[in-house]
Structures are given as structure tokens and as C-alpha cells.
């Protein structure tokens, strides 16, 4: 089962898949991808026992770029999919990759309950405070007054704070 970690010391590069990374040039997501690969290589974990589950949005392309098991699921539901994976096989290292829209808007309920259940999964929330994939509408973390395509006179909603939500759960 743990062939990887038992036999070889993996490098950051070993955690990369053969897929072209398709985020916009200059996007901060590149830095997160590179850092996650680097960190995993220092943890002594194996590729085959690692599962990345994502929802929908720019951030959620993440699993395609990892040479682990991956599931690019549907909008907002990654924490629930990850719950199923983890309950089915608690030996797996399960990661959720999500964004501010995915986790805090459409998937707010699942985000709260995944944290409440405390299943020993990791959630990476890429908070860029905007809807990137759908090209620029305000998100639940956009600041009050943020002008976007869907809020030409400024957002009328106050942002919520992901860590406060997490602690509150």
C-alpha cells in the first residue's frame, strides 16, 4: 500500500502530474501548487494514499496537476465528497481544495459541517475574493463596495471572514 514512501524519497516534482497547468499567467495558484508539492515531499506521505478533492472554480483545477488520486467534483460539494472518501477509507490522506465562492457561498453549508465533523481532512481555501472562473463577479469575501461586473455600483454585501467561520463551526 505504501510502496512510494517505503522505497523512495519523493521530491516535489514527483507529486506533479503530466497535465499542463492552465491557470492565468501570474495567478497566485501557481505558488500554492508549488508549495503543496514541496510540503508533501517533506511529509513522507505516499502518492497513492493521498486524495485531493475539489469543487468548481479556478482553485478546483488543482487535483489535475497532482500525481495523486484526485476528484474534481461539483460546485461547493467537495467537503461532502471528501467525507465519503475518508469514511470509506480512513487510512487515506484527504485534502479538499476550494475557493471563496466554492467554500463560502454555494458550499457554505458543507464547509461548516465538514469542519464540525472534524474528520481529519485538510481544507485548502484559495481566497482571491472574486469569482475568477466565471470572469469577475463579487464573492462572499469581496469587500463592501467592490465594483465588479455584477456589482457595477459596488457590492452591497459585507464580506465574511473564512477563519472566523471555521472557528465558529
Amino acid at each position: 500500500m505504501c510502496a512510494d514512501s517505503a522505497t523512495v524519497q519523493l521530491t516535489a516534482k514527483d507529486f506533479g502530474s503530466d497535465q499542463d497547468v492552465r491557470w492565468c499567467p501570474g495567478c497566485g495558484d501557481y505558488a500554492i501548487l508549488s508549495q503543496v508539492k514541496k510540503v508533501l515531499s517533506t511529509l513522507g506521505v505516499s502518492r497513492e494514499n493521498t486524495v485531493f478533492v475539489s469543487g468548481i472554480g479556478c482553485s478546483s483545477r488543482f487535483p489535475y496537476y497532482m500525481n495523486t488520486y484526485g476528484f474534481h467534483s461539483i460546485h461547493g460539494r467537495a467537503p461532502a465528497v471528501a467525507t465519503g472518501v475518508k469514511v470509506a477509507n480512513p487510512e487515506l490522506d484527504v485534502w479538499v481544495v476550494t475557493g471563496d465562492g466554492d467554500a463560502l457561498s454555494i458550499g457554505g453549508n458543507h464547509f461548516l459541517h465538514a469542519i464540525r465533523r472534524n474528520l481529519d481532512i485538510n481544507i485548502l481555501l484559495f481566497n482571491n475574493r472574486i469569482y475568477g472562473l466565471t470572469k469577475g463577479q463579487y464573492s462572499p469575501t469581496s469587500p463592501f463596495g467592490k465594483r465588479t461586473k455584477s456589482s457595477p455600483v459596488g457590492s452591497v454585501d459585507y464580506p465574511l471572514y473564512p477563519l472566523s467561520v471555521a472557528i465558529g463551526a
Binding site: M1, A3, Y64, S73, I74, A80, G84, V85, V87, A88
Partner: protein, 621 residues
């Protein structure tokens, strides 16, 4: 049907004993009166006695509607007999009404020769008015055509419980067992099964156990010693196939079937769900069986439940969910993900009256179209339907067999009637159950996520397997590699392949069987929970010499390969459904037969006579 008549000594007197082939009893009262419990006890006792039984619980969606009102009436009907019973019966032979509202809501179903037992203490001015009676129907003569037995149940129950520690309302809650005791005497049922149940259920509450015991016996002895009844009935055990039987509801059978399927395949079972009427009992049953390697997950909502099932299937276990129509609506997107990811899972829809919240506790078959087409895009899925409570066990195994062999979600369309209805179920020999073989690609093997076998099934490679790391998801995939792919021709190829894969299932299912002659004037084609009513009606028509047969679809997508051929052998085709006609246009369109629909959407099952009348109308008789 009367089998024989004799007399016996009852207490100090002689009563006539009439032997019957079968009978239909209905308990009805307030939703807090314990009618479901009384009905269940009579069911269990009759099953243990060896009768065939068929039940129809009918209760309001409100937990406690205002006491004494029509909205709060709860009923439990059961048929038991010495012959095979296909339905809980059209007409009631003995109606037990605990208050005026229950009488008003149920009297129309009492047979003209039927017996009515009423709790006369409940016929107070207030209760009569709540039920909408201006005058007491016990006094007006309107019930004269029935044999009416007025029993002061409240007073007698209170008297029976007076030496126990129970007081006030707790005493009132025992009165269902007084009524049950009367019925036990009337049908010569043994009290022991219920006495045993009382002792195990209320072992920690001796006062409650004592009161229920006393009032049950008081009811029984009341029947025996008072001269109110001059007749009692006997019903001989049914001549059924030898074996060990237990009483099983459809929901219990479904739960046991899911467990059995996982056990056969040597897999853990994961059940992710959100509570909803009438499906929750599947969760309750499964939650009791963790010892069989069952994990139940009560999710935060319907969507999360479905998503967790997709995740669990990806991780390599037998994953299932259960819900009702509104839940399926919420789950649709995640079911589509299961179809796109081509993972095995079972989705049980215990249908109820719709649309929207509809009639949560009533039965309907109006989710067939939703099951077949209720998702975005071309998203074909295998759809099955059990035909009796016990068949829910078989269909759950069949669903997992297909799910795993074809790597596809499978939807099972149960309904409220099957889910809550009970019948004696022969405990199967484990060796006789179908086999389900699961294979996962080995570590570091030559693997492509969407490389298919001859049935078009893709491999089920699970996390934890070295060297087979792969990524899947809801985006369209390239054939073979599974990489994200936007190529137009690849998309069309994948759409057609997913459909063809479901069609291929037809090569691995049982053919459609005909009940009766292979050809003739009329074929009744049904699906799901209407099996009992349709078969009973067809049996009756056949016994009257009519050229009528029936066939019942357990597989709705794909349908058995001989379906069109069966239809073609009959001059006319009638499709009875508890909806506005959802199978009908499929059959007409696909097989070009001039089938006619027979539809009912009252939240209630078909009565045998309703179908019988339609058969005669179709045949011009």
C-alpha cells in the same frame, strides 16, 4: 369466503365460530392513539400464527394533528388469511374506530356486511363536532346496515389499569391494547407474542408493562365473556412453502438487501443519507447493523449525502443512499457526477405523493420520469423497481450487482406503499443469493481510467493502489485516458458510449415474464408497487374466463429485451400507474403499441376492483 361454521364454548356461553379464508381489519384513531402499534402487533401475531399477511399503514404527515380532528386520523389496515394475499384488501371486514373523526374518515371503506367496533366513550359532543358530525352517528341509524359493536373502551381500559401505578394520560395511552385484545378474541389469536413484546419493550418500565398486559387481557376477556359478540372467526394457517419466515416491511427488506449485497461481494457498505419520509427507516435499520461492516452517515443535507456516496464509491466501498422525490431533486447534480465519473452506487427513491413536499406519508409512482430523465445533459442511468415489500431485498442486491458490473449509478424506485407495507418473507438460503464479483486493477498494472471491457465497463481503481493514481471528475473526458477533453467528436462518442453501456445491461437481466396465457385479448403492463393489485385483479379476471394476462417490469432502464415481443402478442395493452401516465408514453413511443393508461393519484394504492372494472371496460364486458 366462509370455509366452515361450528360452535364453541366461550366463557359461560356458546358462540358461533365462522372459518374464513381471509379477512381485512383496520384500526383507526387519533395519530396519538397507537393505531400503528396495534396493527403491527396483529400483523406479527398473525404471521407467527402462520397466516399470509399484507399491510397498509396510513398515517398523517403531522406528528400530532389537533386531537379528534379528521386531519389527525391514523389508520392501519391488514389482511390475513390462509391463502396467498396480494394486497391489503379493497374493503374492510372489521373496522375499529377509536373516535368520531376516525369513523367519519374510514366508514366508506367498510364492507356492507362488515363489523364496526367503536369506542363509544369518545363520541362526546366535542369530538363529534370536531369530526363535523351534527348528530351522533351511533344514534341516528345511519350505521344500521353494519353490525355495530359499541364498547366503552376508555372506561374499561381505565378500569383494567386502575391497580397499576399509571395515572391520567399514561392510562389513556394503553387503550389501543384493549381494542387489540378484543380483536385477538374475535379472531382467536394467541396473546403470547404481544405479551412477550410488552415485556421486552417495557422491561425497564414495569408499570407500563403491567398496564398494557392487563388491558390487553381485559379486552380479550371482554370479548370472551360479554354477550356483545355472538360470532367469532378462525383463519387457518396458510399453506406456504416450508422454511423460516419473518415479517418484513419494504424498507427493512431494502436495508437488509443492501447489506447482503455488500456481504456477498465482501465489501463494506456505506450509506450516506438525509432523513426524509418515507425513506428514513432504511437508515434506522442500517444504523443497527454496524456489526456487518456498515457505516451510516447522516449528512447535513440531501446534496451532501449524495456527494458523500460518490466519494465513498470512488474510495472503493459499496455506497448507497436513500431518499424520496424531493431529495432526488436535490441530489440530481451529484447523481450526474456519479454517471460522469462512472462509479458504482445505489440510489433508493422511496416515492411519495408530489410535487414539492406533496403528501409525505402517502404513496405514488410519479417519479419515474424524474428517475429516467431528471438530470442535466444526456445522463442515462439504470432504473429498477421492486414489486413487493419482500422484493425490495432482491432488488437491492440486483441494483448493486448491476452497479458494480457496469460501473454505473443505479436508481431503485420503491414507494411508500412498499416501504411501510409488510408481508411474511422467507429467509433465503445464503447460498441461493446471486453472486457479485468485484475486481480492482492491481497495483502498478497497465491501467487507463476509461479503457473499457467488452460490456463497456471501465475499471474501478481505488485510492491506496500504488501506481494507479488518476484524476476524475464532472468534466467531459477523453476516451480511454480520462483526461479532460473538449473535442466535439470525443464528446459525442462518450455520450453514445455511456448510453450504450446502460443498454448493454439488458443482456444480463431476466426476461419479462407473463402471468397467465402468453397471448390474448388484453395485457396489463405494470411496474413497481402496483404488482399485488394488478396480479390479484388479473387472477380474478382469469377466473371469470376473460382472456387477460399481466407482465410486470422490474427493470425500467434498460427494459427486458423481450418487452416489445410480449406486448405484440396481445390485442390490447393496459398500463395502470399511480401517476398521470409516465410509463405509458415510453411504451407507446418505443414499441408503437396503442397502449391505454389507467391512472390514479390519490396517494393510495389501486383497489383490485378498480382495476377489474377497467379490465371489463377494455374488453367490452
Amino acid at each position: 369466503m366462509v370455509v366452515k361454521t361450528q360452535t364453541e364454548n366461550s366463557g359461560q356461553r356458546q358462540v358461533e365460530v365462522v372459518g374464513l379464508e381471509s379477512t381485512v381489519v383496520r384500526f383507526c384513531g387519533d395519530s396519538g392513539d397507537g393505531m400503528q402499534l396495534a396493527g403491527t402487533q396483529l400483523t406479527n401475531t398473525s404471521a407467527i400464527f402462520g397466516n399470509d399477511v399484507s399491510t397498509l399503514p396510513d398515517f398523517p404527515a403531522e406528528i400530532r394533528a389537533p386531537i379528534g380532528t379528521l386531519a389527525g386520523v391514523s389508520g392501519f389496515q391488514l389482511a390475513f388469511g390462509s391463502k396467498k394475499l396480494r394486497t391489503p384488501g379493497d374493503q374492510v371486514d372489521v373496522l375499529i374506530a377509536m373516535n368520531p373523526a376516525a369513523l367519519k374518515a374510514n366508514i366508506a371503506d367498510l364492507d356492507g356486511d362488515g363489523a364496526l367496533i367503536v369506542n363509544e366513550d369518545a363520541f362526546t359532543k366535542g369530538n363529534l363536532s370536531k369530526a363535523g358530525y351534527e348528530n351522533n352517528p351511533l344514534e341516528t341509524g345511519e350505521l344500521d346496515k353494519y353490525r355495530v359493536f359499541r364498547i366503552p373502551v376508555d372506561k374499561l381500559n381505565t378500569e383494567a389499569c386502575k391497580d397499576t401505578e399509571l395515572t391520567g394520560r399514561a392510562v389513556g395511552r394503553c387503550k389501543n391494547f384493549f381494542a387489540l385484545g378484543v380483536v385477538y378474541w374475535l379472531y382467536g389469536r394467541p396473546m403470547e407474542p404481544t405479551l412477550d413484546w410488552i415485556n421486552s419493550k417495557f422491561g425497564s418500565k414495569p408499570a407500563v408493562a403491567e398496564a398494557n398486559t392487563k388491558t390487553l387481557k381485559a379486552g380479550y376477556y371482554y370479548g370472551e365473556t360479554t354477550e356483545i359478540f355472538t360470532v367469532k372467526y378462525t383463519i387457518a394457517p396458510a399453506k406456504i412453502e416450508a422454511g423460516r419466515y419473518r415479517k418484513l416491511t419494504g424498507n427493512e427488506a431494502m436495508a437488509l438487501g443492501l447489506i447482503a449485497a455488500a456481504k456477498i461481494a465482501k465489501k463494506p457498505l456505506f450509506y450516506g443519507t438525509y432523513p426524509i419520509t418515507p425513506a428514513s427507516d432504511i437508515l434506522h435499520e442500517l444504523a443497527r447493523h454496524k456489526n456487518y461492516d456498515v457505516s451510516t452517515f447522516q449528512a447535513e443535507d440531501e446534496i451532501a449525502a449524495m456527494a458523500s456516496v460518490v466519494g465513498a464509491a470512488f474510495a472503493g466501498v459499496f455506497a448507497a443512499t436513500g431518499t424520496s422525490g424531493p431529495g432526488i431533486a436535490l441530489k440530481a447534480e451529484a447523481i450526474g457526477l456519479g454517471i460522469m465519473a462512472e462509479l458504482p452506487m445505489v440510489i433508493v427513491n422511496v416515492q411519495r405523493g408530489g410535487p414539492s413536499t406533496g403528501l409525505p406519508t402517502k404513496t405514488e409512482q410519479a417519479d419515474l420520469a424524474q428517475a429516467l430523465w431528471g438530470r442535466n445533459g444526456e445522463s442515462p442511468m439504470c432504473v429498477l423497481a421492486p414489486q413487493s415489500p419482500g422484493d425490495c431485498f432482491n432488488i437491492a442486491i440486483e441494483a448493486f450487482r448491476i452497479a458494480v458490473e457496469f460501473m454505473t449509478p443505479v436508481m431503485v424506485l420503491s414507494d411508500g406503499y412498499l416501504a411501510n407495507g409488510a408481508e411474511p418473507w422467507k429467509i433465503p438460503d445464503v447460498a441461493s443469493l446471486p453472486t457479485i464479483t468485484v475486481t480492482h486493477p492491481a497495483a502498478n498494472s497497465d491501467f487507463q481510467p476509461y479503457r473499457r471491457d467488452e460490456k463497456l465497463t471501465r475499471p474501478w481503481a481505488i485510492p491506496g493502489t500504488a501506481g494507479l493514481q488518476h484524476r476524475i471528475g464532472g468534466l467531459e473526458k477523453e476516451d480511454i485516458t480520462g483526461d479532460v477533453c473538449y473535442d466535439p467528436n470525443n464528446h459525442e462518442h462518450m455520450i453514445k458510449t455511456r448510453r450504450k453501456k446502460i443498454d448493454n445491461i439488458a443482456d444480463f437481466i431476466a426476461p419479462l415474464e407473463v402471468f397467465g396465457e402468453d397471448s390474448g385479448d388484453l395485457l396489463l403492463l405494470g411496474w413497481g408497487g402496483t404488482f399485488g393489485s394488478i396480479t390479484a385483479a388479473v387472477e380474478k379476471a382469469q377466473s371469470e374466463g376473460l382472456s387477460v394476462s399481466s407482465a410486470h417490469l422490474r427493470h425500467l432502464d434498460p427494459m427486458p429485451k423481450n418487452t416489445g415481443e410480449v406486448l405484440s402478442r396481445f390485442k390490447k395493452v393496459l398500463i395502470p400507474e399511480l401517476n398521470m401516465g409516465q410509463l405509458l408514453p415510453i411504451i407507446r413511443g418505443r414499441y408503437l403499441v396503442d397502449a391505454v393508461g389507467f391512472n390514479k393519484v390519490q396517494g393510495k394504492p389501486f383497489m383490485i376492483n378498480e382495476i377489474m372494472s377497467k379490465i371489463k371496460e377494455m374488453l367490452g364486458k
